[in-house]
Point group: C2
Chain length 222, copies 2
Amino acid sequence: MSRKPGDGKLRRAHLERLMHYYHFVSERIAQHTSHAVSSAELASVLNMDDTQVRKDLAAIGVQGYPRVGFKCAEIAQAVRGVLGFGQTSKAILVGAGRLGGAMAAYRGFSQYGMTIVALFDADLNRVGSVVGGHVVQPIQSLEMAIRRHGVRLAILTVPAEAAQELADRLVATGIRAIWNFAPTGLTVPSGVFVRHELISVGLAELSYFLKGTEGEDDTHGA
Amino acid sequence: MSRKPGDGKLRRAHLERLMHYYHFVSERIAQHTSHAVSSAELASVLNMDDTQVRKDLAAIGVQGYPRVGFKCAEIAQAVRGVLGFGQTSKAILVGAGRLGGAMAAYRGFSQYGMTIVALFDADLNRVGSVVGGHVVQPIQSLEMAIRRHGVRLAILTVPAEAAQELADRLVATGIRAIWNFAPTGLTVPSGVFVRHELISVGLAELSYFLKGTEGEDDTHGA
């Protein structure tokens, strides 16, 4: 175990907020606009109040400076350490459809320590084509590739009906974490971690906001 | 305001968990497998403990039954009410690339009360083509379409460098909520709600898990 001493186990919502802070400060660092950021700026990214930001950062050992705010580089370094971005995780991507293609083509994952090493699809019309810089491999080569690359992380961007069978194959071959974009739940043995990504989750917040503004205009703070 | 009386303002993380419960029970209802669900089953979807589930559901007025658990239909109805899925939200989608195409083609949004009414792209090679059942319209028609349909919600699936200018145009034409998939922050006036969707956010949880299992095997609960 290499958790930060004393921080206990961080909760999902906390980890996700850290990703948003990390993305924000990384963008600021890249643009050379400022070395510092205020908790209010970070709070506005998530439409919340800044008390939460200060708590989240304190929990990973980042403190603000009077009249300066937080240093972007310190936030970035702390998040990278806590989330393990320094250690590269190899991943395979299963499903080369629209969403899988978007994921394969996305260049931003490297800043989070993730490298996609191979891309698979069951559709022979897609096999052999190049998607996001990867040649699509036949689904039959899945097990061989996982073993050869020593991969423990798999991204599933397949239709719901194909997901469970593929998850079983992945787990049987040594995959320990599945990033599941199929719109269905998966059953896996204890010791395997599944993060079920529902693209619609964001609609919760948007619908809730829009519902709250029904019949009004502009009375909500951003 | 049409919030559920007494529940105050629900937080982002809570809203998101509600979406996961909703998706889980909707799937169960559709498959006719069972009318009921336990808090432990719902907790496992989010890799957390069931105390949180019971708190989340109690906060929206859903109670369990002894020896039965929670009724799927009651959860679904309560979430629909709180999140406003009963009222249909029309949305426009800006950016018909890979991710925009996946969003346009996704049929699941209707169960959350969202209908995409028009799809736009700045690339003339894409204009006129059919993506996910929508004819891609030129970006010049954006304002006219927003006014004609009375749309308040926009989905942005454009490159980072195009996002702010488009957001300005959307807001100037009456858009009140932006679902931002561009990998950059947006500045909007007070009263406009932006949800910044970072596809990489999920990596936080996966990286954290994988980091915690470095050098171990199978000692974590799923």
